[in-house]
Subunit: 391 residues, 2 copies
């Protein structure tokens, strides 16, 4: 028998693609003793969490709740509930996570039309309109904030366009919620999934989802049962709804965390939060560019919360990130899929979208680049960032 030692992880600053650091108030909430998952007082907390989640999503959708699993389960929840075997789905792929939707839809037996655009780019409405006209799908799926490339897909007009073609719009907002504008009702989005460990500054473990009345109607008209029992929203909604029908045991502590995370988001206000993410992004971007680094996402479509930059020629990816981690305790993300070994992904998400995070990562990165012989003007990164803050 061997028993592990006391939990004693090193101190990190999580500036990768997520998880991001948990807000201290959320950590404290997680040390709160449990209520039973059917306790009348816990049901109040569930209602409050749903209510605040609707505000964060900017929706009045009744069917809004956190799936009791991580973001990828939220993706699967949306796909397997909206799609029956043989149903047509158009999946817009501009990075790793669009590809994931294809994989999940394949397992749901969907008839898939895959629309590709180069990694780092975003789709324009015309390409999507043409495909909708030609394919006439039940669902069109797209990623708002593509975590693998840092590209920010405009989606304001997409819901209307989909509805003109009798399609439902499914949006992946895993890296978007709580960081950049997302207006579920105003933009006519039918289904959204997100996560807790990025813009909401909670630990990973839940996937907030919301379904429009139009999506709920489509689900009600299914001819077959949803293939996943655990992710079947028609049952889960009875658990989260008025009749509190026992389905599974809610992850109580994670609900405490999400509730606290949402309180913090709403106390700040969504608009203020989005502005804060933009401001810190501008400072980081000025600093990175002053150090000669180039963004991999197209100009005008760069996510403030996820800054993907090309690794300079001659720089050893693992060595640089290893040094950041061990000497500075800072985690930044490597590339994923096609971008593996080619980009770094620097996240400024939720609580971590702060000036001190920006200057720390710029200073540490400068050290690592100099160490590898890059031509970086010492101090240029931090100076450029501070110039933005001074403006």
């Amino acid at each position: 028998m061997s028993i592990a030692g006391q939990l004693n992880p090193p101190t990190r600053l999580l500036l990768g693609p997520g998880p991001s650091d948990v807000h201290p108030r959320v950590l404290t909430a997680m040390a709160t003793p449990l209520l039973g998952h059917l306790d009348p007082q816990f049901l109040v907390l569930m209602n409050e969490t749903q209510d605040m989640l609707r505000q964060a999503f900017r929706t009045s959708n009744q069917l809004t709740f956190p799936v009791s699993a991580t973001g990828m389960a939220g993706m699967e929840t949306c796909v397997v509930n909206l799609v029956e075997p043989g149903d047509k789905i158009v999946v817009c792929v501009k990075g790793f996570f669009g590809g994931r939707i294809v994989e999940v839809a394949e397992r749901a037996g969907a008839d898939i039309t895959r629309l590709d655009c180069p990694w780092g780019q975003v789709f324009n409405l015309d390409a999507i309109r043409d495909t909708l006209k030609k394919v006439r799908p039940k669902v069109l799926a797209i990623v708002q904030a593509e975590t693998s490339t840092g590209a920010w897909q405009p989606i304001q007009e997409l819901g209307k366009l989909c509805h003109e073609h009798d399609a439902l719009l499914l949006v992946d907002s895993v890296t978007a919620l709580g960081c950049v504008p997302l207006e579920v009702d105003a933009w006519e989005i039918d289904a959204v999934y997100s996560c807790t460990q990025k813009g909401l500054s909670c630990p990973p473990g839940l996937s907030p989802v919301t379904f429009s009345p139009r999506a709920v109607e489509a689900i009600a008209k299914r001819k077959t049962k949803v293939q996943s029992w655990y992710l079947d929203v028609t049952m889960v909604q009875r658990y989260w709804g008025a009749d509190r029908f026992y389905h599974h045991t809610a992850p109580i502590t994670m609900i405490y965390a999400l509730r606290e995370g949402l309180r913090i988001v709403l106390e700040e206000g969504l608009e203020a939060r989005w502005q804060r993410h933009l401001r810190n992004h501008r400072a980081l971007k000025a600093g990175l560019e002053a150090m000669g680094l180039e963004y991999s996402a197209a100009a005008g479509h760069q996510l403030p919360q996820l800054n993907a930059v090309k690794i300079p020629a001659g720089v050893d990816d693992l060595k640089a990130r290893g040094q950041l981690l061990t000497e500075f305790g800072i985690e930044v993300g490597g590339g994923l899929g096609d971008f593996k070994g080619k980009v770094w992904r620097i996240g400024l998400m939720g609580h971590n979208s702060r000036p001190n995070c920006v200057v720390q990562v710029l200073a540490a990165l400068e050290h690592c680049l100099l160490k590898q012989g890059c031509k970086v003007q010492p101090g240029a990164g931090v100076a450029a960032a501070n110039k933005v803050y001074a403006a």
Copy 2:
């Protein structure tokens, strides 16, 4: 906009069917700041957690990990990975959760043979042997600790029996792990799922599973992909295995919790833990019977960690449980399915299998029964329990 108030749940003692109270050390562990889910130091914690989980399961199975979702997702993980559409499965149903396995297997397209026995009873080997001979299934599924009835199914001989008939044995140990003996290797069990919020005294949110080499081989031989992307163990094992292939973001804080919970289990030692559960059960049982309450599970097959007793005639179920909750802060469980309104379920699980929990619930229950006009001799329950402790 409306923001919920500060998290401030009332104090509870959770003596229902789960969740049970979280051990204070686990609560503290959950307030620990995050490591990234691919941080080398987090990978060490994952390995340690897997290693301790194997010890708790008494197995050397390589494929042992916590599913990133609650116990019901563990059930679905086992079923959808072991069973392809058309595969034969025998499901032994002696309560609510056996019925759940049937529902999940239906959605997996299994060819199901349902074997029933009365609620509160357990299966004998002969009935199972006959069915195995007749049906020749790929999988036989059974619940070790049926949470709806409190019945304790002997399973020591079942693995051997299944293997003599070329079937895999799938066991639901949701309410068993960490409370009563479970010897995965010695008993030749091929797949087990459990949860964190009962015998392990962690919050709900993960489902520990383990698969024998025989089960892994059966999964490798599948002709179709597992219908659930999220729960596909062939991918999840690459994430938890040596190559650390990105699949989803592990619920880091819940892994911290499970790791701490397992440390506590192993520090106590499994045999000592099982003995402790038996001792406190005997005391509670003596007390309940002294108060005139009758167990609903058959004699000789009553779970120490889940004491299901018949609600005395004339007693208002909701009123009594409401009074326990609001006056004493004690949660006990109501009945489920066929037993709704007919039984109370009193859990003494993990950290909550303690003498002070036993005497509290006996004293509080006495008060509630007297209030409803039951003929209970004041003090008899606590006296009977203390007599057991004195022995």
